[in-house]
Amino acid sequence: MDKPSQPDTGSSAGNNVLPLNGPTRLRFWGVRGSIPSPGWQTARYGGNTSCVEVRTDGQIIVLDAGSGIRPLGLELAREFGQRPLAVTLLITHTHWDHIQGFPFFVPAYQSQNSVTILGYEGARHGLEETLSGQMESPYFPIGLKEMPGNIMFRELKDLNFSIGNLQVQAAYTNHPGVCVGYRLQTHDGVVTFVPDNEHFERLRAQPGKGLCSSAEAIEYARSRDQRIAEFVSGSDILIMDSQYDENEYSSHIGWGHSCADDTVNLAIRAGVKHLFMFHHDPAHDDAKIRAMEKHARELARSAGSRMRVEAAREGREVILDGGKVRFVRAIRGGKERELTRRDNA
């Protein structure tokens, strides 16, 4: 169908800033949905909104620009110093929790850097218009045009494209407005990011929501979910919306988010190797997220699946090396050590 195409970057996106052969590294900088939630009660899993850094195939890719992109920017500025830095931001959609950190992304204020922002035209406005809208004067003191870094917007058309050597696929997810998920085909395996998605069948099976829930409608919903399952199928790492537990979901039908049970089932069906539950509810404290993680693991176990399940956690770094997933913690002096089961507990 669609031929993979290089977005008409014409810029330094696609130029390699990292060695090509290193292992693929992921780091969670923001795992929360809706609104940042600082405080003691979220200190373990973190309170910043959606942002995941992926280093692979010579590229630094940033998935979403929620408030987690602020500390990421500080870290990149420290690491690169005066050396020019090229990063590619993939934006899933323009709800606040996915763009609100961008005005605080320090590398965009340094003229030697280039920042390429890729995404799709939204329900009401183009990508650039929406991102610069959040920096207009009623809201923010500095305009996007005043940022000295080289900032390029590329509104995507094709659902298949590449960034340098890296093949990327996008798919629409079920969420109000225009929202996509991204599938990165790295040389170490597949990383898929679906931060916001509501399970169709569950949405449609609810009576009294003004939607017809005929057998036909349910069948249709099932086929939509199947599309998502195909999109994430065989992912080595899947990062996916699991905002609610089953009970909470019943009072949040139609809000565009999934309950953890549906996400786990879908991931199992799709043959995912490692699932990260993502887009934690701002009202969930660490104990609640831990309990949801435990429940999700039990679900997978009782389904006879060998899929690993984790709640995404801010600051956590994951290495995908030839299809094998390892957790690491950076320690002083640039060294790192692999985390054991005890660190995870």
Partner: protein, 462 residues
Amino acid sequence: MSRVKTLVLVDEDLEQRSLVADWMTQEGWRVLVADDGERGLELAFQNRPELIVCDLLMPRCNGFQLCRMVRKNPNLCDFTRIIVTTGGGYPTDRANAIEAGADECLVKPLNRNHLIKCVRQLLGDSDTTRRMRVEKELPDLRDSLPPFPPVIPLEQAPFLRFWGVRGSIPTPGPSTLKYGGNTACIEVRADGQIIILDAGTGIAPLGALLNKEFESRPLCATILISHTHWDHIQGFPFFEPAYKPENLVRIIGFKGAQEGLRSTLSSQMESPYFPISMSELPGNIAIVEMRDLKFSIGAVRVEATYLNHPGLCIGYRLNTSAGSVAYLPDNEPYQRFKYHIGNPGQATTPEAIEYARRQDQRIVDFIQGVDVLVIDSQYDSIEYKSRIGWGHGCVDDVVALALSAKVKKLFLFHHDPRHDDAHIDSMVEWARSFTRTLGEDLEVAAAQEGLMVSLAPARAPV
């Protein structure tokens, strides 16, 4: 039937596409199909169809884009009807599709009778009906200023509580646990009123607590907005009491530099940014744009003044029966700003210097003798040197200002997102030693999330 009508049918989903194609062919239509948005547009431009049926989410040009392109084309804009179809059925998607130029939005899977009825209705319409319907669907917001009855017992001990103390952007994480990472929000309870200063992210946990406290009892709260930079309004969509119809939430502020308060607040809840729009909130929300700089909330007398900050920013002084509170969340002292060498707006003439001095004196008069002053002290004096003109104050200036206005208790506020707890501790230490050196007894502390300050000076702290 004069001539055969043409339908351009655009959908990636083969099954739905062939169903609709069959139905419409049986109805006597010429049906042209496309499986992506770009091809669909091409067919529309070439064939000038009476009707386009397209999905919202398609490769190479989504349904919203397609609607906009058709409405921009002079040949099609008043001629072609568009029915968009969506799998999700979200109300905002419907509203946005209609705003983008669709005539109708149907939820998939489509029903034959329903679709045909809808097509007949649309093609019988005159050209003006679409515009009329769009107008009808625009939100109807209430404007009147309601009375201010007391909502908490008058004998409840008055207090002030910090819910968000951070400036610029929320900063979760282990390094900000002591002072807190939420953006600007302060709760003041006095004289039977609940007054909330600004709606940064701190208003989200405040809302959760109010919901718990009031349960099903109706709640009235007044939110005073200093200005509409993100860190002062971003929590509002997450203020739970606004979603309960029995509550009354009044938002008071002043007209911004470019747009009215209502349009600025509601556009943060517009669909590119937020899934629920302001008009969908069931709570009774009244937005009041003030003109007078003096007004009352029940027995609390409020004074407002303009601060020195980009755009338009207001400071508030609440005079309650239990003492006074002044809130100046974003402010850069004028004289500092104007004396700075190399600053484009640098004051060089004696008149300009005198003007800057008078502006600062106005702030001194405004906060004169307050019991509690909460004020922007984002930077230390070294940091400030490289941030002159950014609209924020430094700790040294703030202490000097508080001393000259005979303030009793000073809270440093609008903490820089880069400042960790240890740095804020050191700024407080510096401010205290500065005060001691001058031989004054001003009480200084850093605003801290969760901290409650009693407003009855005679009584013990709550």
